[in-house]
């Protein structure tokens, strides 16, 4: 039996006093890929942000356990150090701070928390080279300020570079596939797939089928109206691609 990595029970969350998630349940085991699909406004991004600990969201009910620990009791930085990673839907630009400095600071914060020695600039550059190659970048991106002046696709690649560098145990990808052209999507998705390990899990938040052809999901869940209304295998994603989401809303309303 694969060890349980993430367990979400009856999760309710609100922002600005408005409840977005109305009781989400989800279990993710090590080695698995889960896709969370659903129409716009269904709560997909809220779920991703809540798991990463965004302070704007309040959890009003339910629990989230990560590797046996109460995830909701942890600060965002503790979650990251423990191995939770969120690839942002809208990555933030950090003026004046180079990508290299930012990446090294993040890696060292995580290493320090794990009792590992921090990496100096040169050592870090050595570990970085192979990872840059994965996403098809040269090191010119390292001396640029974080996401500043990056195109939409470059920002998404930068998120995946961080994923590659930080090596989390749980990667949550929030619409990493949106805004990418076909070639970029292929590179990004193949990188995500290549970074999978038997002891890590991936949660893909998306409303397109395409990324799932590169990162094959073990389970597909449909989030609609703040609840998971249907779960299945990759075949469900195909069905959604064909039929859209409306039939599920009707089904949920009837049921």
């Amino acid at each position: 039996m694969k060890p349980r990595l993430l367990e979400i029970r009856n999760l309710h969350a609100s922002v600005d006093g408005r409840e977005i998630l109305h009781g989400v349940d989800l279990e993710v085991n090590a080695g698995e890929v889960h896709a969370i699909m659903g129409p716009n406004g269904s709560g997909k991004s809220t779920l991703a942000q809540v798991l990463a600990g965004h302070p704007a969201y309040t959890v009003t009910e339910g629990s989230v356990t990560f590797d046996g620990k109460d995830l909701l009791a942890m600060q965002p930085e503790q979650r990251a150090r423990d191995g939770v990673f969120l690839a942002f839907q809208y990555p933030v630009a950090i003026r004046g701070i180079t990508n290299a400095y930012f990446l090294r600071s993040a890696v060292n914060a995580v290493r320090k928390a794990r009792g590992q020695e921090e990496l100096g600039p040169l050592e870090f550059m050595e570990t970085l080279e192979a990872k840059l190659k994965l996403i098809g970048w040269d090191d010119s991106y390292l001396s640029r300020p974080v996401n500043e002046g990056f195109s939409g696709g470059e920002k998404k690649r930068n998120e995946i570079l961080q994923l590659a560098v930080l090596e989390p145990r749980l990667a949550i990808l929030d619409e990493t596939d949106s805004g990418l052209d076909i070639d970029a999507l292929k590179t990004v998705a193949q990188t995500v797939d290549r970074l999978r390990r038997p002891d890590t899990a991936t949660v893909l938040v998306t409303h397109y089928y395409r990324i799932l052809t590169y990162v094959l999901p073990d389970y597909v869940h449909v989030l609609s109206g703040g609840r998971i209304v249907k779960s299945g295998t990759k075949d469900l994603a195909l069905e959604l691609e064909r039929k859209g989401y409306d039939w599920l809303r009707e089904e949920a309303a009837v049921g």
Binding site: E77, R95, G96, I97
Partner: protein, 449 residues
């Protein structure tokens, strides 16, 4: 408080004493300029907040107090200056102490052809050269402070790079103030003057570094003139670290020739009340100006930058970036005006001012303004004022950084963005260390100018 009018009259009276005493030996053309300057000062008087250019800055603390003209200078050693230098010992150093050039602290051996010396000496040894440039770029018509500086003009630093010469070593002008312990006596005012001229095709890096050897109340009323000839390239870094109890009012006047490049970076870190004006004239076709500024304020510091970039000729480029970090009860003011004259077609101009407020009591006012009288131009401007971005903080925390590290990184980024634009590597390195030190000092709650 003493009424304003008395302070003005006192300077006029001081001037009369000055011309019969300290100013003897000056050439007659300079004496004429001084007379006109004091007359203009008397007409203008100190500005009030009713004037648009002074809307956010009250000079009452200067106008309502009496400052005495400094006389002579204390003896210093190189050791006193080491920690305060930006360009280090490799630089060609010029030192002005309390407004008076200090030859024993200044570079003795210069590359052949380069003049880097006392302004007072230059007036005597190179009268034609000095006359051609001095007061040619600085207009005191509209500025009481520039007028007062010009009225009391007697010494300062003079740099002249002849045509085609590339000065490899950076040139550092240190304007050092040693305030007298002022028990009962009037605090001191100095009127330092800088004149930096690059002739056609010359290249140089210059640092203008205002420092205080100790805390104290004094007033620095500075004017610098910078002329960049046709095809010349100058990187000019100005650092202001006056005492936290001091006042500084200063104007940098720059004029650029055809196809010239001026990279002007100003760093305002000190002073209780500091006002710096930059007037930059792109007076030749195809000239390029990069104007960067950074201010870091805390306590009750007040810093006001007013910049005017004047595109007078076609095909000019100006990129202006000012970032400010304003903490505690400090107040930062930025006013940036870009003028594109009729005929200055194909001007490419960009103006940005970002302010980071580190406390709810901190304040920043930002006024970017475009005045465009030509039709084929590309001009943009933008400004922001606000606290640390919550989304950016969360982004950094979600990568494992503590809230403190995340905040420090975002804050330093404001400075780093400006620092990265300084081309000269050694100077940039020194500035980075300086700014990092100041920011660390701030987070420790220190109080250093």
């Amino acid at each position: 408080m003493t009424p304003v009018v008395d302070a003005k009259e006192q300077y006029v009276a001081d001037f009369k004493a000055f011309v019969t005493n300290g100013a003897r030996g000056a050439p007659s053309w300079l004496r004429d300029i001084r007379e006109r300057a004091i007359a203009r000062f008397a007409e203008l008087g100190f500005p009030s907040m009713k004037q648009e250019e002074w809307r956010f800055t009250s000079v009452a603390p200067i106008a309502e107090r009496s400052f005495a003209l400094s006389h002579g200078r204390p003896a210093l050693t190189n050791g006193d200056l080491e920690a305060l230098s930006i360009a280090g010992t490799r630089a060609i150093r010029l030192v002005v102490v309390n407004g008076v050039f200090a030859p024993e602290l200044s570079a003795a051996e210069l590359p052949a052809g380069l003049r880097a010396a006392s302004l007072r000496v230059a007036l005597a040894t190179d009268p034609d050269l000095a006359r051609r440039h001095l007061t040619s770029y600085a207009s005191f018509d509209a500025s009481a402070f520039a007028a007062l500086n010009t009225a009391f003009l007697s010494d300062g630093a003079f740099v002249h790079v002849p045509a085609g010469m590339e000065v490899e070593r950076p040139i550092e002008i240190m304007f050092v103030t040693v305030p007298a312990p002022t028990a009962g006596a009037s605090p001191m005012v100095t009127h330092p003057r800088g004149l930096v001229v690059l002739e056609r095709g010359a290249r140089a890096s210059v640092v203008e570094n205002y420092v205080a050897l100790r805390d104290g109340v004094y007033w620095t009323n500075a004017v610098s003139e910078v002329a960049v000839g046709d095809g010349a390239q100058l990187e000019y870094v100005r650092v202001q670290r006056e005492s936290r109890d001091a006042y500084q009012v200063a104007t940098t006047y720059a004029r650029q020739g055809r196809d010239s490049l001026l990279r002007l970076h100003v760093f305002a870190l000190g002073g209780g009340l500091a006002r710096h004006d930059v007037h930059s004239l792109l007076g030749g076709t195809g000239s390029e100006l990069v104007l960067n500024g950074f201010y870091l304020l805390r306590g009750k510091q007040h810093s006001d930058h007013h910049t005017v970039i004047d595109h007078a000729e076609p095909h000019g480029t100006s990129h202006e970036f000012f970032n400010g970090i304003v903490g505690e009860q400090a107040h930062g003011v930025f006013s940036g005006r870009i003028i594109v004259r009729p005929g200055a077609q194909r001007t490419d101009s960009k103006l940005t001012n970002n302010n980071l407020l580190l406390s709810t009591e901190a304040r920043a006012d930002s006024l970017p303004q475009l005045e465009i009288y030509a039709d084929d131009v590309k001009c943009t401007h933008g400004s922001t004022v606000g606290p640390l971005d919550e989304t950016a903080l969360f982004y950094l925390r979600s990568r494992g950084l503590s809230p403190e590290t995340a905040a420090a990184m975002l804050t330093y980024g404001m400075a780093a963005e400006i620092l990265a634009r300084v081309n000269h590597e050694a100077i940039r390195g020194a500035l980075e260390r300086l700014v990092r030190g100041r920011l660390a000092d701030r987070t420790r709650g220190g109080r250093r100018a």
